[in-house]
């Protein structure tokens, strides 16, 4: 055995720094400088912030973009920490699971605006300082990112193959090592995809999270979102253009520096290369791999994992634990406790809401919910009619797909507010009814999930299936009916579920549109919540949020879930 053979490659990269190392070095340092600068703003005083209004000068956008990007990164980190702890707890503890997962379901349906009620809490944490407001903004971005990530990771944890878990136990990996060696890598591909979706969600609500206005409290944090809000208030079209450009650049940077490397390395976590799929490439990942950086990080990581492991003699069986914890009566006590907490919470909420709101208004709000439901349903149907055929067409042409996908990804992050100038002017000029013509804003960011998924579905159609279709002369409508539509159906359903949930959340920015002093309001639950929050009317805001959550969760349960189950059963060959 030649022990000296392995380290050769290690030695080479370590002692002969190449161009990749240099580039990596420069980028890392630039990142530090940039973070330090952006973070300096955190400790400033609130009075100072109020004294320096947002500037619409294009040059100011560079700093704003940096601040916004930093907030999103911090929120993303927070979401990851949340994901790793919350999802792990839910997956590991049967008792925690019964409450954590339904809770996640509801949290996911709560629109970001409703969370802005918490701003007062954050402001009083650091009186007179910007840090509290920054925390509030980051928290709001977090609420548009965390839930789907946590759910994805939970789902991954539950689907680790039995034998892998048994191998980890057989080789006596401790919980910490098992988490980093098995569970996190296994959940990574799905998690990365969800992080990308979350980032788009964060951008879509960027104005809501930075220009926070609840009752008498108004905070405008320097950032792209506040810039857009001001540009809209001042009817400055040029500034809107600059904001779009700045967003485009930041999204592109995120894509190239963060998500490309991540998706490219996600392929590395998969056991099998799926047929017909070329591994994604990323220059940033290549850079990291070719420089010594990644190897160094990997070694440090391994050392960190081993840090807590005390050398153990062989031949000692590990004791099995928890048999006493499995007792039935603890289950019952736990469920009883949950029931009590639930009853208490219900009592408290009802008391809080009913102090201000008459029962008749609840009926009215439910009615508003049905109006918004009608909008979502019609829009999803329209988006499906448009995007399913296009998605199939694109999906069957890999070269077109590789162009369309990043474009759609950018469009998914495009905030609805940026279209306010066009929509509001058109509605006012043509004397259209806002109830109909504001609606398309709802689906602006979410329709792309239908397109994404249909493209993926269409590109996954087995070539044999297509050849068989050609061979038997199946074309025209028959081709769509018997081949294309059934093949993409499960993918379409997944996309439509995402789009529907997202549209409900988007209703808070889509049913109320401002352009300068012009304000258009459509009837609907989103407008109700938006106006109540703006007015600082906590009771109505909470009522609206509860009704909206119930709508989303009930529709998921009675409509989407059976459809999804059916699509999975009927259209997948396994």
């Amino acid at each position: 055995m030649r022990l000296d053979r392995l380290p050769i490659s290690v030695l080479r990269t370590r002692y002969v720094p190449g161009g990749w190392d240099l580039l990596a070095f420069v980028l890392v340092f630039c990142l530090f400088v940039y973070m330090a600068q952006a973070a300096r703003g955190l400790v400033g005083s609130l009075a100072h912030l109020e004294a320096t209004p947002i500037s619409l000068a294009p040059a100011a956008l560079v700093g704003y973009a940096a601040r916004t990007a930093l907030r999103m990164l911090i929120a993303m980190l927070a979401s990851l920490v949340f994901t790793f702890s919350y999802a792990t707890l839910a997956a590991k503890s049967r008792r925690a699971e019964v409450i954590l997962i339904p809770l996640l379901d509801f949290l996911q349906s709560v629109p970001i605006l409703s969370f802005s009620l918490t701003i007062l809490f954050f402001l009083q944490l650091t009186p007179g300082r910007v840090a509290g407001a920054e925390m509030a903004a980051i928290f709001l971005i977090f609420t548009s990112q965390a839930w789907n990530m946590a759910f994805s990771f939970y789902h991954s944890l539950r689907s680790i193959p039995d034998e892998m878990v048994e191998a980890a136990r057989n080789f006596q990996l401790g919980p910490w090592m098992r988490f980093w060696r098995l569970e996190v890598p296994f959940g990574m591909p799905a998690l990365i995809w969800n992080m990308m979706m979350s980032m788009s969600g964060g951008w879509f609500f960027v104005t809501v999270s930075e220009a926070i206005s609840v009752g008498n409290t108004t905070v405008t944090l320097p950032g792209v979102g506040s810039y857009i809000a001001l540009a809209i208030a001042q009817k400055n079209l040029a500034a809107i253009g600059w904001a779009i450009a700045a967003m485009f650049v930041v999204i592109l940077l995120f894509d190239q520096l963060l998500f490309r490397p991540l998706t490219a390395s996600a392929d590395w976590f998969r056991l099998e290369q799926e047929a017909g799929q070329t591994p994604s490439s990323s220059w940033a990942l290549t850079m990291m791999r070719r420089s010594a950086l990644l190897g160094w990080v990997g070694n440090a990581f391994g050392a960190m994992l081993r840090l807590g492991v005390k050398p153990r003699p062989s031949d000692t069986p590990l004791a099995r634990d928890e048999s006493r914890w499995r007792a039935r009566w603890i289950d019952y006590a736990w469920y009883g406790l949950l029931l009590l907490i639930g009853a208490g919470a219900l009592f408290k909420t009802m008391g809080f809401v009913l102090r201000e709101v008459r029962p008749g208004e609840i009926v009215h709000v439910i009615g508003l919910g049905f109006i918004t439901l009608l909008r979502v349903a019609i829009l999803i149907a329209l988006a499906s009619i448009i995007w399913v055929p296009i998605g199939v067409w694109v999906g069957l042409r890999p070269r077109v797909a590789s162009i369309v996908q990043p474009v759609a990804q950018f469009l998914a992050a495009f905030p609805a507010n940026l279209l306010f100038p066009i929509v509001v002017s058109a509605v006012v000029m043509l004397k259209l009814t806002p109830d109909i013509w504001l609606s398309p804003l709802m689906i602006l960011g979410t329709q792309w999930y239908i397109l994404f998924n249909v493209i993926v579905g269409a590109s996954a159609i087995a070539p044999e299936l297509r050849y068989a279709g050609q061979n038997f002369g199946v074309h025209g409508w028959l081709w769509w009916k018997r081949l294309a539509l059934p093949a993409v159906f499960p993918f379409y359903v997944t996309g439509a579920i995402t789009a529907s949930g997202g549209s409900w959340n988007a209703s808070i920015v889509a049913e109320v549109a401002n352009w300068g002093d012009q304000r258009l309001v459509a009837h609907g639950l989103g407008a109700y919540i938006a106006e109540a929050t703006e007015a600082g009317d906590f009771q109505r805001s909470v009522l609206g949020t509860i009704v909206l959550s119930l709508f989303v969760v009930i529709i998921n349960r009675v409509f989407w879930r059976p459809l999804y189950a059916r699509a999975e059963r009927k259209f997948r060959i396994s």
Binding site: L173, G174, D315, R320
Partner: protein, 442 residues
């Protein structure tokens, strides 16, 4: 030939006493998977646990590995009761269970890393194990870059590197093609014979009879439902063993005889014990395609067998594994198309008639036997006939079956009866509506 000759006077490494394993079903009934299993493993021997799927042999392996808890009974390892994974017991998995994000070297290091072995020693031992198992040069490869055989070599290296006393193997070769499996087996036996492996004993779970005879010093034959040891067969042939050796063939024959023997006291009725009184629908069915049934009937009917065949011979000729052959033979026995005994399969009169007939006549015959001898089929048909709508939901029968068996067994039983019912055109099944009907398109 072996590193350490099996010596009866040595203290056992492993002592399994009266292990039972049962699962509690939602309705409170117990489902017995393992019944009173005793087993001792001494240094220097390879012991095979041989049985069909569902005989609980893999469950036993997991109990021994400390991954699963016995309902009663004890597992003693070096005189200590096993109550969790022990580092002296390492396992090789059927699906390899490698971590795809780790290189070969990192995968092999895994167990040492968990034990807190210092880095230099960890690397040295891992490279030794990689070398030993013939993976030299693949240290930095990822599992997805390797073929199945190479992947399983990593599985072996990962287990050997911790220098376990006992190596547990859970059907380690069954996911590989025949040629690769053979190479890996002989490589393993060579290393074992030369005393190069840092292990004392091996416990091998398999359903491949030839594999067991080739590798083991002793074989324990498991019955199904519930799993228990029905016999122990010592293998005294010297290594290397050759499949064409008459003594080798004789041993294989003997295993077939043991595996097809009826448990004592069981009447000559269906294939499997009908352990429940009442409607008799509680018989668990294993899914066998009507194609396989037809094929087996034809093969036994034709020359050179002419209605009576030696099971090992027909298994080899038809390329059927035990897990394919036995359920098919049992299904034929249950349908009274064949009799299985003493390692032979013999066609009954209707079985021969079936083999001689054309498709339509075969279906008619199959339908008659299905309704007459499989109570579940008769039950479904009766329910459909009685109902005005001639339709009944799947859930109704699943619920009934789950009174007798575990959930997945009930699923499989129903899947089997749907497939047979469709072939026989006794009833139809609509997957969209999840319902049985009498409406045949015909």
């Amino acid at each position: 030939m072996n590193a350490v000759a099996p010596a009866l006077n040595l203290a056992p490494l492993l002592d399994v006493q009266g292990v039972c394993k049962s699962f509690r079903k939602p309705d409170g009934d117990e489902l017995v998977v393992l019944e009173n299993v005793n087993l001792t493993l001494r240094p220097g021997e390879i012991v095979g646990l041989l049985g069909r799927s569902g005989s609980g042999k893999s469950t036993l392996l997991r109990v021994i590995a400390g991954l699963d808890e016995p309902s009663s009974g004890v597992v003693n390892y070096l005189g200590q009761s096993v109550s969790g994974p022990a580092s002296g017991i390492a396992m090789v998995f059927q699906s390899f269970a490698l971590f795809p994000w780790l290189t070969v070297l990192e995968n092999v290091q895994l167990g040492l890393e968990a034990l807190g072995v210092p880095e230099a020693e960890m690397r040295k031992r891992s490279l030794q194990a990689i070398d030993l198992i013939g993976l030299d040069g693949f240290e930095s490869a990822y599992p997805r870059e390797l073929s199945g055989g190479m992947r399983q070599r990593v599985g072996f290296a990962r287990a050997l590197v911790v220098h376990p006393n006992i190596l547990l193997m859970d059907e380690p070769f069954s996911a590989l093609d025949v040629l690769t499996a053979e190479t890996l087996r002989t490589d393993f036996l060579d290393l074992w014979g030369e005393g190069q492996l840092p292990i004392k004993s091996v416990l091998l779970v398999t359903h491949n009879i030839e594999e067991a005879v080739q590798m083991c010093d002793r074989m324990l034959i498991f019955s199904t439902h519930p799993g228990r040891v029905i016999s122990e067969i010592p293998v005294d042939l010297p290594q290397p063993r050759h499949a064409h050796d008459p003594r080798f063939r004789a041993l294989i024959d003997r295993v077939y005889v043991e595996m097809t023997a009826r448990p004592r006291g069981e009447p000559r009725t269906g294939a499997r014990t009908e352990r429940f009184a009442g409607t008799g629908i509680g018989t668990q069915l294993t899914h066998v395609s009507s194609n396989v049934l037809t094929g087996l009937l034809e093969a036994v009917h034709e020359a050179p067998y002419n209605g009576r065949a030696d099971l090992p011979a027909i298994a080899e000729e038809q390329h059927l594994e035990v897990d394919d052959l036995f359920p098919a033979a049992e299904a034929l026995q249950m349908l009274r198309f064949a009799e299985v005994e003493g390692g032979d399969i013999r066609l009954t009169e209707p079985g021969q008639e079936f083999a001689r007939s054309e498709t339509d006549e075969r279906k008619r015959l199959f339908a008659r036997h299905l309704i007459t001898y499989v109570p579940l089929a008769a039950h479904i048909r009766r329910v459909l006939d009685e109902r005005a709508s001639h339709s009944a939901p799947r859930s109704r029968f699943i619920d009934e079956l789950e009174d007798y068996m575990a959930e997945d067994a009930a699923e499989e039983t129903l899947r089997t009866i749907i497939s047979w019912g469709r072939y026989a055109e006794c009833f139809a099944y609509d997957d969209n509506r999840q319902a049985f009907t009498l409406e045949n398109p015909a």
